[in-house]
């Protein structure tokens, strides 16, 4: 490995910090690189009088889609689940596909902020806030589906074990209950973690506020944070505890979701590989989302000094790793189906690639397993017009994966006389499009009014933040 000269002092925006050198640490922040510069870059968008024009265009479209979501949900609740294309044997279709899809997207935020926190990856500071926001909003999108799929959502409280006049309790063996708990835990957790990390940055916005309204609003949510060293110590400890819990949660949520399928007996669902399979796929789709959102955001909001080429490069590498695991699982599933010798299982996998939904099967194979292999090349990781399509295709691929697993398996199970094709209705499609409206409305509001990058954390990894302990404390534990 060659030694690379790292220039001292001010680095230009777009400075190539992707070169690897194990003897010399590459800077993770370019531009001026002072504390104040970091504050200025991040606060520029929330403090600007007007957002970029494109923001208004996107926001209008998102709001319209959000209205579509509300309309379709209202129609579905007042009419009944019959407005969906679900019909025997396809009891599960778009609702659960979209649920798994959105839960999956949520995973990257937790992965980046928690798992990379545990591994002390300093580069995570540039993108963690951003990724956590995608988590919070996509869990929200996911949560809609199980809630309305129960048909009579006003009875959703029956899931809670409360003493009632009938004297009965929920069945704790039911995956519906596991799901409800996993998703509600995940959404509560991701919201608290996101807000917890944002408190010091909200205090920055409070202290810089020019108007009384801004000062009051940001002030309330900043909880009176004043950067005390005694507070930082407790806060850091709290952050580590939350991160540790999140590491376990990120593995548990998708595993729980996968057991909805794995505890059933449908060929193609009844597999022990499902928990890791769903978890890896989830994190993979999450990274694709973070890449797909980070590329426009860093261009649009001038964050190139904080979300540098190196961040994009690292994200690409992680996506490549996950894509390879996903591809391995796809292939091993086929092998298991063949080697186990069960005819129903063999048929399910033959049907997945050569049945009526063959193009879904192949799309998932190519978009998730084959195309991301281009990320082996550095050019593909660091060139936006290459990595953006790869990420978007991966998202499409992950959706088709869920379609393949769910619809292809259930539409053709044991008895050919019970087979039936599934096709979504307009309501199904409208609701799916609407969930994007919900996600983007919230995400755009987040970009506009909240600190998109964790300022305090970025400042702590600047080279000038490095301190030497006075001699007498070096060995104190």
């Amino acid at each position: 490995m060659t030694t690379i000269e790292i220039p001292q002092g001010r680095l230009d925006t777009g400075y190539d910090n992707t070169a690897e050198d194990c003897t010399n640490r590459q800077p993770l922040v370019t531009g001026e690189g002072t504390y104040h510069a970091v504050t200025k870059i991040v606060c520029a968008t929330p403090e600007a009088r007007h957002a970029p024009k494109i923001w208004y265009v996107c926001f209008t479209i998102s709001l319209m889609l959000l209205c579509l979501l509300f309309l379709t949900i209202a129609y579905q609740v007042f009419t009944g689940v019959g407005v969906w294309g679900n019909n025997s044997p396809n009891a599960w279709a778009f609702d659960i596909i979209n649920f798994v899809f959105w839960v999956g997207i949520a995973h990257a935020g937790t992965m980046i902020s928690a798992v990379l926190l545990m591994f002390r990856q300093r580069w995570r500071t540039g993108i963690n806030r951003f990724a956590e926001a995608t988590t919070v909003f996509s869990v929200l999108c996911a949560g809609i589906y199980p809630a309305i799929h129960v048909g009579r959502p006003w009875f959703a409280y029956w899931l809670i074990p409360y003493p009632n006049i009938m004297g009965d309790w929920p069945n704790f063996y039911s995956p519906l209950l596991w799901d409800a708990l996993a998703v509600s835990t995940y959404s509560t957790f991701s919201f608290l973690f996101w807000y917890f990390g944002m408190v010091p940055d909200l205090a920055t916005l409070r202290d810089r506020a020019k108007t009384r309204t801004r000062h009051t609003l940001y002030g309330i949510f900043a909880l009176g944070w004043r950067g005390s060293a005694r507070h930082w110590k407790i806060y850091d400890r709290g952050m580590i505890i939350m991160g540790g819990l999140a590491c376990a949660l990120v593995l548990a949520v998708s595993s729980t979701v996968s057991t909805d399928f794995a505890v059933s007996q449908i060929p193609g669902w009844h597999e022990t590989i499902f928990p890791p399979y769903f978890t890896v796929g989830a994190i993979f789709s999450g990274f694709a989302t973070v890449i797909a959102l980070a590329i426009p955001a860093r261009h649009l909001f001038g964050l190139k000094d904080l979300i540098t080429e190196r961040h994009m490069d690292n994200l690409g590498k992680l996506m490549l790793l996950l894509s390879s695991i996903v591809l391995y699982i796809y292939l091993i599933e086929f092998f298991t189906a063949y080697y186990a010798g069960n005819i129903y299982e063999r048929f399910a996998y033959y049907n997945r690639e050569f049945g009526p939904y063959w193009w879904m099967g192949w799309a998932m194979m190519f978009c998730n397993g084959v195309i991301p292999q281009a990320l082996w090349f550095k050019k593909a990781r660091t060139t936006w017009w290459l990595s953006l399509p790869i990420a978007l295709l991966a998202l499409f691929g992950m959706w088709t994966e869920r379609f393949s697993i769910i619809v292809t398996s259930i539409s053709r199970d044991f008895l050919p006389s019970a087979w039936h094709m599934y096709s979504p209705t307009l309501i199904d499609i409208g609701m799916f499009a609407g969930s994007f409206g919900l996600f983007f409305t919230l995400f755009l509001l987040f970009c506009r009014y909240l600190p998109m990058v964790a300022m305090a954390e970025v400042k702590s990894i600047l080279p000038q933040s490095h301190t030497h302990l006075p001699e007498e404390y070096r060995n104190v534990e």
């Binding site: 104040h36 504050t39 074990p161 004297g167 309790w169 069945n171 704790f172 063996y173 995956p175 209950l177 596991w178 708990l181 996993a182 509600s184 835990t185 995940y186 509560t188 957790f189 608290l192 917890f196 010091p200 205090a203 920055t204 810089r208 309330i220 909880l223 009176g224 944070w225 004043r226 950067g227 005390s228 060293a229 005694r230 507070h231 930082w232 110590k233 407790i234 806060y235 850091d236 400890r237 709290g238 505890i241 939350m242 819990l245 376990a248 949660l249 548990a252 729980t256 300022m455 305090a456 400042k459 702590s460 000038q464 933040s465 490095h466 301190t467 302990l469 006075p470 404390y473 104190v476």
Partner: protein, 189 residues
Amino acid sequence: MTTYNPSMDTPAGEPVLYGLLAEFHDPQSLMNAANILRKNGYYCWDCYSPFPVHGLDKVMGQRNSILPVVVFVVATLSCIGMLALAWYCNAYNYPIVVSGKPYWGLGPHMFLAFPVTVLASVITTFYATFIFCKLPLFRHPLFTSERFQRVTDDGFFIAIEARDAKFDIKVTTELLNTAGALAVEEVRD
């Protein structure tokens, strides 16, 4: 230890002296100054910085917070509690055979106990952290200082409270200046 009560010296209606606020240039000089203050026997003081300065807790002599213990206790209790609830509901109070499965099973019930444990621990961590920090606190004497607004941007500060037994405006100001302060000002509230 006799404590100096600043309000005794202040005429009624006048803002009470909270203490001295000193600004430092960078994290290293903040740490060095903290070391000097601690050696001089001050105890009612705190450092303020835009991000956690690594190692400052050692220099200030902060004890570890009991936060992890609190979270651990809550986590253990909530895990046992959820398993017990599942047992009470499905195996004791109203046992029903579903698909011939046993009334109570650790495996499937772990799917419930785990998220409940995490949920309880996270909520505890969140609230306990802010309770231990005595936050939210929207009114604080330091917020009256214009200089102090930069603490969330690029300012590094030490504030010594007037109730500290060793506090003396002249002596303490001089000490802060020799410790490398860029500026020292009185904070009144």
